[in-house]
């Protein structure tokens, strides 16, 4: 099939202004959008720049705005995108070059919510026990690959870049609801602050954007409830 990629280009070493590049290519309908981007980079314009690694939706490198919606370039097939495909960098992060954005502030927010198991009781010799039901309560939020698609689809984040954002809340949820964890109060204190969960206006963009199909708005809702009913 013939498709035309319309790609938002930006290279500050060449020009302070972004521009649109159009690339008509021949491709298979079952090719991933990432394959099409690779084709452009490898055969038409070597300067096209983006991140990619695993190419099957696990590493989280290639989240971008595709036909106006955030998703991973490696997890969407051309046959589902039409013959003219618009590709832009994620919104709300500083664009460094073409589709590649600055992720440092995003990871800083991840670190802020203490995304690691906190325990005060001594470890048993073998594993800590956990029931299948207890394990299930945080299953959904263990799937996060830190791609940034949710946070950069969130109008509350666009309005206030200090908002901790859905991805960080997902990673806090993963521990708050883990029966083995004893750091819930510390995390809830962080998430209850001005730039925490209350910035979420339940717009659900994050749920649509998540390539791992995490029900993020529900997870944020569960954190809000924990703040209301378990609070200090």
């Amino acid at each position: 099939m013939k498709v035309t990629l319309k790609i938002r280009r930006f290279n500050p070493e060449k020009s302070p202004q972004p521009w649109w590049g159009e690339y008509p290519i021949e491709a298979e309908p079952t090719d991933r959008l990432l394959d099409a981007l690779n084709y452009v980079k490898w055969h038409i314009d070597g300067t096209l720049t983006y991140r990619r690694s695993c190419a099957h939706g696990i590493c989280g490198s290639d989240a971008m705005l595709i036909n106006g919606a955030n998703t991973l370039a490696c997890k969407v097939l051309l046959q589902n995108l039409g013959s003219k495909i618009t590709v832009e960098p994620m919104r709300g992060f500083r664009v460094i070059k073409d589709l590649l954005v600055d992720m440092d502030a995003f990871f800083e927010k991840f670190r802020k919510v203490k995304p690691y198991l906190i325990t005060h009781t001594p470890e048993p010799e073998k594993e800590r026990l956990q029931t299948i039901e207890d394990r299930e309560t945080f299953e959904d939020t263990t799937k996060c690959i830190l791609c940034g698609a949710c946070t950069t689809s969130c109008p509350s984040f666009w309005a206030n870049e200090d908002y901790v954002g859905p991805a960080a809340i997902v990673n806090a949820h993963r521990f708050i609801f883990d029966s083995r964890d004893e750091g819930g109060d510390e995390r809830l204190e962080i998430l209850g602050a001005a730039d925490g969960v209350w910035r979420c206006r339940t717009i659900f963009n994050c749920v649509e954007a998540c390539p791992r199909e995490i029900n993020i708005t529900r997870a944020i809702g569960e954190v809000k409830k924990a703040l209301l009913f378990r609070r200090f």
Partner: protein, 574 residues
């Protein structure tokens, strides 16, 4: 820019993060990675990590040890395998204590499932040894390690690409890396360096490996005059998605999935009557190639079916959610109703930078260490996988040997001073980049890489012989000549991913040469190395490790004996 650290870890997958975590408590340590750590390929491992916990049924590390040695066709060093299987158990508990969300048994313990080549009582039938978190075990391991690194404030240099290894006065003195964001070269002067840069599957057309898996550490070591061990052994995983190579976990067969040919026959009954579809990967991949050659591929084409239609909806949704998702997303098929087209996919390098059981890199058949240089994980060869790795053992390897390397390096860096930095340490790296950036040739790197991948697939993959390997060797000479004419369009210094793809291509060309020459030299069939002109294993002449060196005259060899302790080589049947 010059940095001075006690130790530098290169690579931030499972082995690198484990090493970084264990080293950081002992001094000034940097972990450098060409990716953000959570992008590393450990995250794509699916089915589980092997450890004889015995949570469902009786199991022992000795059984795990036997299976690993037999699975590796008796080429693994048995002292190293014993350490692997003993320490696997405490390692899994350590991961659990760090918060890894394992799936659970009815009584709340870590859940375990059967996996290829893992047996009870020395081969009497499958055993549930693979500790899993749905089919996302690697993702959970990578996330858990990164969480612990965050907690312990491990110091990362993200998006720095390894270009050179520094050696002075016979000791490792550090590394040179290219800062991808700025294009600047950074010298990391260090007492100890641990390489954990992962595999090189991108030299093959059909592969489960990430675009980033270009063997950077192995290639840098090879060019620095160090040997690579057992490069002829490259594993093809039986169930890659047809044409794309995306991995569908062996857990799919562990949970009951069946491979079928065009007549619907469960053909593994003819090849491995006891373990059937759960035979080791080398045997299953060869069986698939044979079925395809016999015209039994689906519609006569080069793929077969992975039949999951008889599994319960709960198995699909709860135990294999990612496999189900991949099949739906990339094939548009509902695996609950239709069989899945699969073909063997290049998956894992058993070979790599030779090390001893403390992760110290060795430079010859006498096990002489290069002081200060360590390696762990897929880029290393300790050798625990021998001629063929069992599923779940790579995750054990990265953690057990990532930690062991780090522990030895921690002692080393306390007891030793820095080796003097060589004069102008960045010179070779600077010349490499300058040469590429000045290139005004006509060749596109992508076309050279395409040719490499296609030819390697045809001539040096599951089956090989002298004719195909010799032809590949000649092809590599031609590709090397074309590479000298490679052109670069991006002359910028910020995020010049084009120039790095060319650096990666050169790494793949160097490693392909080491693989092909090693495969041509080994005139026998063992594990994943299957020579059609030498179809039998030959313990008299070839029960030994290959050490391949890059010299101006081409690849030169030395050979290292296999360490055999508990299990004498026997015929390998399943």
């Amino acid at each position: 820019m010059v940095h001075k650290y006690d130790a530098v870890v290169v690579g931030a997958g499972g082995a690198g993060l484990m090493a970084g975590l264990n080293l950081s408590a002992h001094g000034r340590v940097a972990v450098i990675s060409k990716l953000y750590p959570t992008r590393s390929h450990t995250g794509t491992a699916q089915g589980g990590i092997g450890a004889a916990l015995g949570n469902h049924e009786e199991d022992h590390w000795e059984w795990h040890m036997f299976d690993t040695i037999k699975g590796g066709d008796y080429l693994a060093d048995q002292d190293a395998v014993e350490i692997l299987c003993r320490e696997a158990i405490e390692t899994v508990y350590e991961l659990e204590h760090w918060g890894l969300p394992f799936s659970r048994t009815e009584d709340g313990r870590i859940a375990q499932r059967p996996f290829g080549g893992h047996t009870k009582e020395f081969g009497k039938g499958p055993v549930r040894r693979s500790c899993y978190a749905a089919d996302r075990t690697g993702h959970m391991i990578l996330q858990t390690l990164y969480q612990q690194c965050t907690k312990n404030q491990v110091h990362f240099f993200n998006e720095y690409h390894l270009l050179d290894l520094l050696v002075s006065e016979g000791r490792c003195a550090g590394v040179v890396a290219y800062c991808i964001a700025t294009g600047e070269l950074h010298v990391f002067h260090a007492k100890a360096v641990l390489d954990a840069t992962g595999g090189c599957g991108r030299m093959f057309r059909v592969t489960s490996n990430a675009h980033s898996l270009t063997g950077d550490g192995m290639a840098v070591a090879l060019r620095a005059g160090l040997p690579l061990e057992d490069m002829e052994f490259f594993q093809f995983h039986p169930t890659g998605i047809y044409k794309m190579g995306i991995l569908l976990s062996e857990a799919a067969r562990g949970e009951g999935g069946i491979l079928r040919n065009r007549t619907g026959e469960r053909f593994m009954e003819r090849y491995a009557p006891t373990l059937l579809d759960l035979a080791p990967r080398d045997m299953v991949s060869r069986a698939m190639y044979r079925e395809i050659r016999d015209g039994k591929g689906i519609d006569g084409k080069n793929y077969l079916h992975l039949d999951l239609t008889h599994l319960s909806a709960e198995v699909h949704d709860k135990k294999l959610p990612d496999v189900t998702d991949f099949v739906r997303t990339y094939l548009g098929i509902e695996p609950k109703k239709e069989p899945v087209p699969v073909q063997p996919t290049a998956h894992y390098a058993m070979g790599g930078i030779p090390t001893d059981t403390d992760g110290r890199v060795i430079i010859d058949e006498q096990n002489t260490p290069l002081h200060g240089f360590y390696a762990a994980g897929e880029s290393a060869c300790v050798s625990v996988h021998g001629a063929n790795r069992l599923g779940t053992n790579s995750l054990v390897d990265i953690l057990v040997y990532g930690r062991r390397g780090a522990r030895h390096a921690a002692t080393y860096m306390k007891e030793n001073d820095w080796a003097p930095s060589p004069a102008n340490p960045e010179d070779r790296a600077k010349a490499l980049i300058a040469c590429l950036m000045a290139g005004s040739g006509k060749e596109r790197a992508a076309q050279i890489r395409d040719a490499l991948q296609d030819e390697m697939m045809e001539k040096a993959s599951v089956f090989r012989d002298a004719k195909s390997l010799t032809a590949m060797k000649e092809k590599l000479v031609e590709l090397r000549e074309r590479f000298a004419q490679v052109k670069i369009e991006d002359r910028g210094s910020k995020y010049n991913t084009e120039v790095l793809e060319v650096v990666e291509l050169e790494n793949l060309l160097d490693l392909a040469e080491a693989l092909v020459e090693s495969a041509l030299g080994r005139e026998e069939s063992r594990g994943a190395h299957s020579r059609e002109d030498f179809p039998k294993r030959d313990d008299i002449n070839w029960l030994k490790h290959t050490l391949a060196y890059k010299t101006p005259q081409g690849i030169a060899f030395k050979f290292k004996p296999v360490t055999i302790t508990k299990f004498q080589p026997k015929e390998r049947k399943y």
